[in-house]
């Protein structure tokens, strides 16, 4: 497995091998799916749309519907405006969404198609029916990563839709980050438990975690409604979860509508969840969360202390999208584990700074790197082994090559189930992550134990 990877690390300035990121448009497509009755539209060649739909489908095991401008060579030379115009005409007549969320691709960005003017003209010419919306985000694939694309589409929602005219200052906005529907659902549940009225956007729960009913709805019941997104401009506060995916949205809403915002780490693990809960308590004026939530927290602490012997001091290699990795680093440190390689493919020195701050004095024993790839991570592991690898599905090759226990976390997970239902967020999410880490390590202890040391109780 991965036998061609040499142990010696050599400097590379041009060749990316086994990336730990992908391109912007898939993030924009995913964010768009979190608007109720929205059809994401990929303005570029057919392949982009096909690849993004396929990959999102592989992760969610759910239908992912999106349309494309189907560029041909002619469009690439003369511009894709007519293709977009024709697309909008067909989309509203055939599929009848409430909103079309257009994102660009490297092709249309390189051509320099002016989306707003095409959309304006389509509106004037009656191609976009009254009461329907078209929003757009520029998502050049050669800048940032999938996370940037998510962030840009969230910002587009605000720039196009948020308003000060509706809504209430009692509401709190939560931009949940580039996370699974189960996490968005958990945020809503926690807001309910904390008795605060919130607008979570985008929200892919009930869009990408649908029950089997025997019928198919192209636009299912989930997703943040246009009305809700409009109302976000009047809310009292925006909580942006994850700086990379959600800060731009929070900042944009502040500058457009004057809603103050606060950036928190993703509520992964006890500490980050505490911060999220505290932020909500500061709004509601309650001094403690409800008993049910305190109990949930207590159960996680119980598990962390009960099983500490299997966790303490274990070396971990961690990679993935920056917000996920930052929050997980904090969680690992809090249980006495030792992240030794912490990597993201997304560019950003901020990532390195934030992780190093979490690691504190331990940062000198850890290699933290943005714009890195899994080939490099594998080489690091060859030079200094770890006890556990945590990251998306692509790490399974390294895990097998080096025979290291592996916990799947982040996007995408293409070869296991569970992430569709169980959150990583909140105290309950922490329980899931923790049980997964502990059980994976225990499976390894069992597998490797000599017969005389094979134990019943662990």
């Amino acid at each position: 497995m991965l036998d061609m990877t040499p142990k010696e690390v050599s400097e590379r300035s041009a060749l990316r091998i086994n990336p730990a990121k992908t391109c912007q448009p898939i993030g924009a497509m995913y964010a768009s799916l979190g608007i109720h009755r929205c059809l994401p539209h990929s303005h570029g060649s057919q392949g982009c749309c096909s690849y993004h739909r396929s990959h999102l489908t592989r992760h969610y095991k759910e239908p992912v519907v999106a349309s494309t401008s189907s560029f041909t060579e002619g469009a690439a030379v003369f511009g894709g405006g007519p293709n977009l115009r024709q697309s909008l005409n067909n989309i509203f007549q055939v599929y009848n969404p409430d909103v079309v969320a257009v994102h660009t691709t490297c092709l249309s960005e390189t051509i320099g198609d002016d989306i707003p003017s095409v959309v304006r003209k389509a509106r004037e010419d009656g191609i976009i029916p009254d009461g329907k919306f078209v929003i757009h985000a520029n998502t050049p694939s050669y800048v940032g990563s999938n996370v940037t694309g998510f962030s840009n589409m969230v910002k587009a929602m605000i720039d196009y839709l948020s308003s000060r005219e509706f809504g209430s200052s009692k509401d709190v906005n939560v931009i949940p980050g580039y996370v699974d529907p189960a996490d968005m659902r958990e945020i809503k549940r926690m807001l309910g438990e904390l008795n605060v009225s919130g607008i979570v956007f985008p929200d892919t729960s009930d869009v990408l975690d649908l029950p089997m009913t025997g019928s198919y709805e192209m636009f299912p019941k989930g997703g943040t409604t246009i009305e809700q997104i409009m109302k976000t401009g009047s809310s009292g506060l925006t909580i942006s979860l994850g700086a990379f995916a959600s800060e731009a949205g929070g900042a944009s809403l502040e500058s457009k509508c004057g809603v103050p915002f606060k950036v928190l780490d993703l509520p992964v693990g006890v500490h980050a969840t505490d911060m999220f809960v505290k932020s909500i308590l500061e709004i509601t004026g309650e001094i403690r969360p409800p008993a049910s939530m305190i109990d949930d927290r207590g159960r996680v602490m119980d598990l962390m202390t009960d099983m500490q012997g299997y966790l303490y001091g274990k070396k971990v290699a961690l990679y993935g999208d920056p917000d996920q990795v930052i929050a997980m680093t904090d969680f690992l440190v809090s249980m006495g584990m030792r992240p030794v390689y912490v990597i993201t493919g997304t560019p950003g020195k901020r990532f390195e700074d934030r992780v190093n701050r979490i690691l504190g004095n331990d940062s000198s024993n850890c290699l933290v790197k943005a714009s890195a790839d899994l080939f490099y991570l594998h080489q690091l592991i060859k030079n200094g082994p770890v006890d556990l690898i945590i990251g998306n599905t692509y790490g399974k090759y390294i895990a097998r090559a080096e025979d290291i226990p592996f916990v799947r976390y982040g996007f995408p997970i293409l070869d296991r189930v569970g992430h569709g239902f169980f959150p990583t967020f909140g105290y309950r999410g922490a329980m899931r992550i923790l049980t997964s880490i502990i059980n994976t390590l225990l499976d390894r202890v069992d597998r490797d134990a000599p017969e005389e040391r094979f134990e019943l109780v662990m």
Partner: protein, 542 residues
């Protein structure tokens, strides 16, 4: 049980369905789509529009030129480094997602699980990406010392005008490693199909016929073209051929090694599995080296037997024929014995197939063997000849999109051309449709069957609602939509991570999987008890 074609004729006029389903479109779109949807009637093979642009905004299964080139044809060559020149996504999505399997040869070289990209940034788009590409090739050479490197252009590369052919030539010279560049920008052509063609051309020009060392003396040596070893298909096919004493030099390009492809011109026969993606190669090899080709179908027990018999007929050697017949007898007995149990539960069920440029045809024979009927089928990126047969080729006028894909004329290779059979015999076999011929899908379909090219999301949805098939074969993008209706969907691009499905044992696997999908008791539990009859309030016991 869902309606069979016979029932469909009684209860439903296909023409009416076609009118209904296209009525949701704007007029211009409806007019275009109507040419892509036809009904087969007895003794008449309708003309169908294919290989033309997908209408923007109409949700399609299709991908891009790059996907056809790197993803389908070149990517499976396992002992080469494939560098995608572009932003990261294109390489990322084509990384290990197609299940084209590969076993390293003696040298151990295996790059199949790696993903290489120049990861273009905005500065590369502004100032040009050639420098970065050159450096990336150098780094790949320095780290891996591969036998060959491919470079694949993505959309922005063509626009900014990077001359990847010049970079490839320069770096071949500089590193001594063969670098082959493919101008397969995503916007070229109208689907993956253009990419297949581009891949065929460059592979032929740079690889095939380049190694004459160690001449192969055996008589029964062949290549298999258009077999991508999804789920191990090529290995199961190889097993049967090996048993018959027939040697495969190279498979294009499942489990392919570049060294073997370089020697492929020494074969005495080419078998074409996926006509759509590789017929160009078959023709070029025939013109250059004199290797005739036969269209085969390794899907289904009968299909596999028929294909083996074609090879025996071609070589016309009594001993080989006897061996082939013996293998067929053994393998058929074993396979039918195992399939019988499944086909008992599948008889009379209906299937719809919307996939690729060959599979929607190939699997119909296997469904027939299972006692099932194909009511509607269509390709994603096929051309008219795949539907109607190669005899229509002279009538197919290239449009602007096809003209953008280079058509190369291949002359006889003076040193390597060798007639495999006497010219007269070759002509005779061509005339009777045995050599160099493909009849297409439509002639093999039944009266009343519908054929839909480049099916749209809306059309697929309506088909399921109206005709309630027992299984729909399609790809990942459609699978879960279909299954929400309570109808099982078999992915025929990746086999739902099962397989092999080709060859004798593959047919058994397929029968097992279709039986499982259709007869899984879970489907019957989708309706909850309270949906079936109201729950009555229980009387409490006093």
């Amino acid at each position: 049980m869902s309606p069979t074609i016979r029932d469909m004729n009684n209860i439903m006029d296909q023409e009416e369905f076609i009118r209904d389903v296209t009525s949701v479109y704007p007029n211009k779109v409806a007019k275009k789509r109507l040419k892509h949807i036809v009904v087969k009637s007895e003794g008449e093979n309708p003309e169908i529009e294919a290989n033309v642009r997908t209408i923007p905004g109409i949700i399609t299964q299709r991908g891009c030129c790059y996907a056809g080139c790197k993803g389908v044809v070149i990517g499976p060559i396992g002992d080469m480094v494939h560098i995608v020149h572009g932003p990261i996504g294109c390489s990322f999505y084509a990384w290990n997602t197609r299940r084209n399997m590969f076993r390293p040869r003696e040298d151990g070289a295996n790059y199949l699980n790696y993903c290489f990209s120049t990861d273009m940034q905005d500065s590369d788009v502004i100032f040009g990406g050639e420098k970065k590409l050159r450096q990336a090739i150098q780094e790949a050479h320095d780290i891996f010392k591969p036998k060959a490197i491919s470079v694949h252009a993505t959309c922005p590369v063509g626009l900014i005008g990077d001359d990847i052919q010049a970079v490839a030539r320069e770096m071949t010279e500089k590193t001594g490693t063969l670098v082959i560049a493919f101008n397969c920008e995503g916007y070229k052509g109208v689907s993956q199909s253009g990419g297949h063609h581009i891949a065929n051309n460059k592979l032929f020009e740079n690889v095939v016929g380049k190694d004459d060392s160690n001449p192969i003396q055996d008589k029964f040596v062949i290549n298999i073209l258009g077999e991508y070893n999804i789920g191990g298909d090529a290995w199961e096919i190889e097993r049967a051929f090996a048993k018959c004493g027939i040697r495969i030099i190279s498979t294009f390009s499942g489990d392919a090694s570049i060294d073997e492809m370089r020697r492929a011109h020494q074969a005495n026969l080419n078998l074409v599995m996926c006509h759509r993606s590789i017929n160009y190669m078959a023709e070029m090899m025939e013109n250059a080296f004199g290797i005739p080709w036969i269209k085969v179908n390794f899907i289904g027990v009968k299909g596999m037997s028929k294909s083996l018999r074609k090879v025996a007929k071609y070589f016309d050697d009594p001993e080989l024929t006897q061996k082939v017949e013996q293998v067929i007898a053994e393998e058929e007995a074993e396979a039918y014995n195992l399939i019988a149990d499944h086909s008992d539960r599948l008889r009379g069920k209906t299937a719809m197939l919307f996939v690729g440029g060959s599979r929607a045809h190939h699997y119909q024979e296997l469904f027939t063997e299972l006692g099932m009927e194909t009511t509607v089928a269509g390709f994603e990126f096929a051309h008219r000849d795949d539907y109607e047969g190669r005899h229509v080729l002279p009538d197919v006028k290239p449009d602007a999109d096809s003209r953008n894909i280079e058509e190369i004329r291949v002359e006889q290779d003076e040193n390597r051309f060798r007639p495999r059979i006497p010219v007269e015999q070759m002509k005779e076999l061509q005339k009777e449709g045995f050599l160099g011929s493909y009849e297409g899908m439509i002639p093999e379909m039944k009266h009343g069957a519908m054929i839909i090219d480049d099916i749209s999301h809306a059309e697929l949805e309506q088909l399921i609602l109206r005709f309630k098939p027992d299984v729909v074969c399609s790809g990942i993008k459609d699978k879960y939509m279909i299954e929400k209706f309570g109808v099982p969907s078999k992915q025929l691009h990746n086999y739902d991570y099962s397989g092999p499905y080709a060859g004798f044992r593959g047919a058994v696997n397929f029968a097992r999987d279709i039986d499982m999908m259709i007869n899984n008791p879970a489907w019957k539990m989708i309706k909850a008890p309270w949906d079936i009859e109201p729950v009555l309030r229980a009387e409490t016991v006093a």
